[in-house]
């Protein structure tokens, strides 16, 4: 089995999508000759030409607005926003048009648009380079939102996103771009919306996504040593949410801990807590614990280790929840 980084897997996904579907376009800032600041688009312009893989002016709203027009003309745009913190100028086009267009036209015009956003923190980035934007997209009806945590999932989810007739926001955990995984890149597997149990256990369910998945697995290992068997769930899709899986895990373990980088208030942990309560109230033996970023602007590099959920914070929350 070949070993592949998430960045290379995403590159392969774009390459395969461009090859298989002549209507796919890839554009963004510095994604052509440079190959993207994270090299995710490395070599694509050379391989597919500047008509299908091209740089745009620095104009996020215009980039996404153009994707709407391109969709009307029968093209499938895969737009890269350079960093999470620079997705906000595009939010109006996403919320007001990309998410609403199909509804507005009673299904006559679909929006097969993919928006890739290198996301989250953990890379000692500058201000605006470590943001968790998922809440803004997940709350917006009409969008799908996926977050890969491994290279193989990154390939599969990006392929699914590009093939999806509806708009999909792909949040790529920057901190995991260089993490490696063994295996064949394939699109086979469950569709968008399916989470998965990465580690089984009956003491408590740890629900997470993105770069926090690795930390939760570490915490679970740590706790295994203490005789606590935590189940780790990688959501993979934040919209739609795998509510059935959340429900069954909550009912089976009776205890749930949610972990994410985004600030606490109205982060995914809030929705997951609510779903868990709706699905498994009578089975809950402890309140759902939220281990998240704090309700502050993403801090400078020197402080990010105190902002991001640490293995110890996660482990402690699991202990508390199991002991409750």
């Amino acid at each position: 089995m070949p070993e592949v980084t998430m960045s290379a897997a995403l590159n392969a996904a774009l390459r395969d999508a461009l090859t298989e579907d002549p209507r796919v376009l890839v554009y963004g800032q510095d994604i052509g000759r440079l190959g993207g600041v994270f090299r995710v688009t490395d070599g694509l312009q050379e391989a597919f030409g500047a008509n299908r893989v091209f740089d745009t002016p620095i104009a996020e709203a215009g980039m996404v607005g153009a994707a709407v027009g391109l969709a009307l003309a029968g093209w499938k745009a895969v737009v890269e926003i350079q960093f999470d913190g620079f997705s906000y100028p595009a939010l109006d086009q996403v919320v007001s048009h990309v998410a609403k267009y199909r509804e507005r036209t009673r299904g006559r015009v679909e929006m097969p648009i993919t928006i890739r956003i290198p996301s989250f923190g953990g890379i000692r980035g500058k201000e605006h380079h470590g943001e968790s934007t998922e809440t803004y997209w997940v709350h917006t009806a009409g969008l799908k939102v996926v977050v890969p945590s491994t290279a193989l999932d990154a390939y599969r989810l990006l392929r699914l996103a590009i093939a999806d007739p509806d708009p999909v926001i792909v949040l790529e955990p920057k901190a995991r771009y260089w993490s490696k995984e063994d295996g064949e890149l394939t699109v086979d597997g469950p569709g968008i919306g399916a989470g998965r149990v990465l580690l089984d256990g009956d003491a408590c369910t740890v629900v997470t996504y993105g770069a926090m998945v690795a930390r939760c697995l570490e915490a679970a290992e740590l706790l295994a040593g203490e005789g606590i068997a935590a189940r780790v769930v990688d959501l993979r899709s934040l919209s739609p949410l795998d509510v059935p899986l959340l429900g069954s895990c909550a009912r089976e373990t009776g205890r749930v801990v949610v972990v994410h980088e985004a600030p606490l208030t109205l982060g995914m942990g809030a929705e997951i807590t609510a779903r868990v309560m709706e699905e498994a109230f009578d089975h809950l033996e402890a309140p759902v614990a939220r281990v998240t970023g704090w309700d502050v602007p993403y801090p400078p590099a020197s402080l990010e280790q105190h902002y991001l959920p640490s293995v110890e914070r996660i482990a402690e929350a699991i202990r508390r929840t199991v002991k409750y």
């Binding site: 709203a61 215009g62 036209t105 006559r108 015009v109 679909e110 509806d166």
Partner: protein, 354 residues
């Protein structure tokens, strides 16, 4: 000849003076029957616009944004488009929609509150859904034009927007991208003097058509109440686009004779004499006078325009009033192509409740 535009500034391109006399080469390449069509469309458009105002007063529409006074800007430009050219309107382009063959009854669902602005088939009529967030439709037009270029199709996209909308960043990003990608896009600004209660003079201190040079493509200012002049400059822009010569910015100087919408009270912010000054520049009377003088039409045709418009509008009125509110499930039927299980649960709960 001094500018007749009370707003002053650069004299716009004009072929027919307000009194109906030709002041330029009126040979714009249209056949007599096409020249007559222009009048027929404008008469129908105005008659329908006024009917919509009435329908709203009668409670048949929720709100309506009249375009009276802007018939020439809309009909003249729409008439210059080819069948494959795609229109990206704002919310005041009903006259353009008519020319594009959009079913006015479908279109009116938006103003009736029975659906959003796109229940008709935008691809079939090459007319995008009504767009409310100002200037956001311009990048849609540019993206569509980029797609045409990639497909090597000799067609173009035209975005309609107002003088106020041109202040939005979306205008700038779209215009600049159109230039960079040499897209067959036409940016048509209907400068009707007002953005709700804000006059164009408080919206910008420059002239909108002049912005084009900064982006590196042609800009032109035209008398938006001279249907022949509007047709001519738009046709030139369409030809440039079809020939691969890139975008054009057109500023049509016209005037919103009515309120911003039926919910607006224009008396609060503008004098009636300004409105009267503009009524004297009426696009329809001007063109009718020229058409009769030129011998391309006679009184019989003029009269027939009115009667046929009356008949057409009566039919539309009846059908609009007959439009039923949509079934509740429509609220859920087009959010996603393949709805998820949690989404379907909401649908079930809602329909149970409805």
């Amino acid at each position: 000849m001094a500018t007749i535009d009370p707003r002053g500034g650069t004299e716009p391109f004009r072929l027919i003076a307000p009194d109906g006399t030709a002041v330029g080469d009126t040979e714009v390449g249209l056949e007599p029957n096409e020249l007559r069509e222009l009048l027929r469309w404008m008469v129908l458009a105005r008659r329908l616009d006024r009917e919509c105002m009435a329908l709203q007063r009668q409670g048949e529409l929720t709100v309506y944004p009249p375009f009276e006074g802007q018939e020439a800007a809309q009909i003249g430009s729409a008439f210059a488009l080819g069948p494959d050219d795609f229109v990206f309107p704002s919310f005041r382009e009903l006259a353009v929609a008519l020319v594009r063959g959009v079913d006015p009854v479908q279109y009116m669902q938006y103003h009736r509150g029975t659906w959003h602005g796109g229940p008709y088939d935008p691809r079939a009529t090459r007319f995008a859904p009504i767009c409310v967030p100002t200037a956001t439709q311009i990048s849609h037009a540019v993206g569509y034009a980029m797609g045409l270029r990639l497909d090597d199709i000799a067609a173009c996209a035209i975005a309609y927007f107002g003088d106020g909308s041109a202040s939005e960043g979306d205008f700038h990003e779209a215009a600049n991208m159109a230039a960079v990608f040499r897209s067959p896009a036409i940016l048509f600004c209907q400068n009707n003097g007002w953005a709700i209660s804000v006059p164009t003079t408080s919206q910008t201190t420059g002239e909108i058509w002049k912005r084009a040079e900064g982006y590196g493509f042609p800009g032109v200012r035209v008398d938006g109440n001279d249907v022949l002049a509007v047709y001519r400059v738009t046709k030139d822009a369409v030809d440039r686009a079809h020939d691969g010569d890139g975008p054009t910015l057109i500023e049509g100087l016209t005037y919103r004779v009515g309120p911003h919408t039926t919910a607006d009270d224009a008396g609060r912010y503008r004098d009636e004499d300004e409105v009267q000054r503009w009524r004297a520049l009426d696009p329809i009377e001007r063109y009718r006078a020229w058409l009769l003088a030129s011998g391309h039409a006679d009184d019989a045709f003029v009269a027939e325009c009115d009667t046929s418009a009356e008949a057409e509008v009566t039919r539309i009125r009846t059908d609009v009033i007959a439009t039923e509110p949509p079934p509740t499930e429509w609220m859920f039927d087009w959010t996603y192509t393949e709805p998820s299980e949690p989404f379907l649960r909401e649908r079930t709960e809602a329909l149970g409740d409805a």
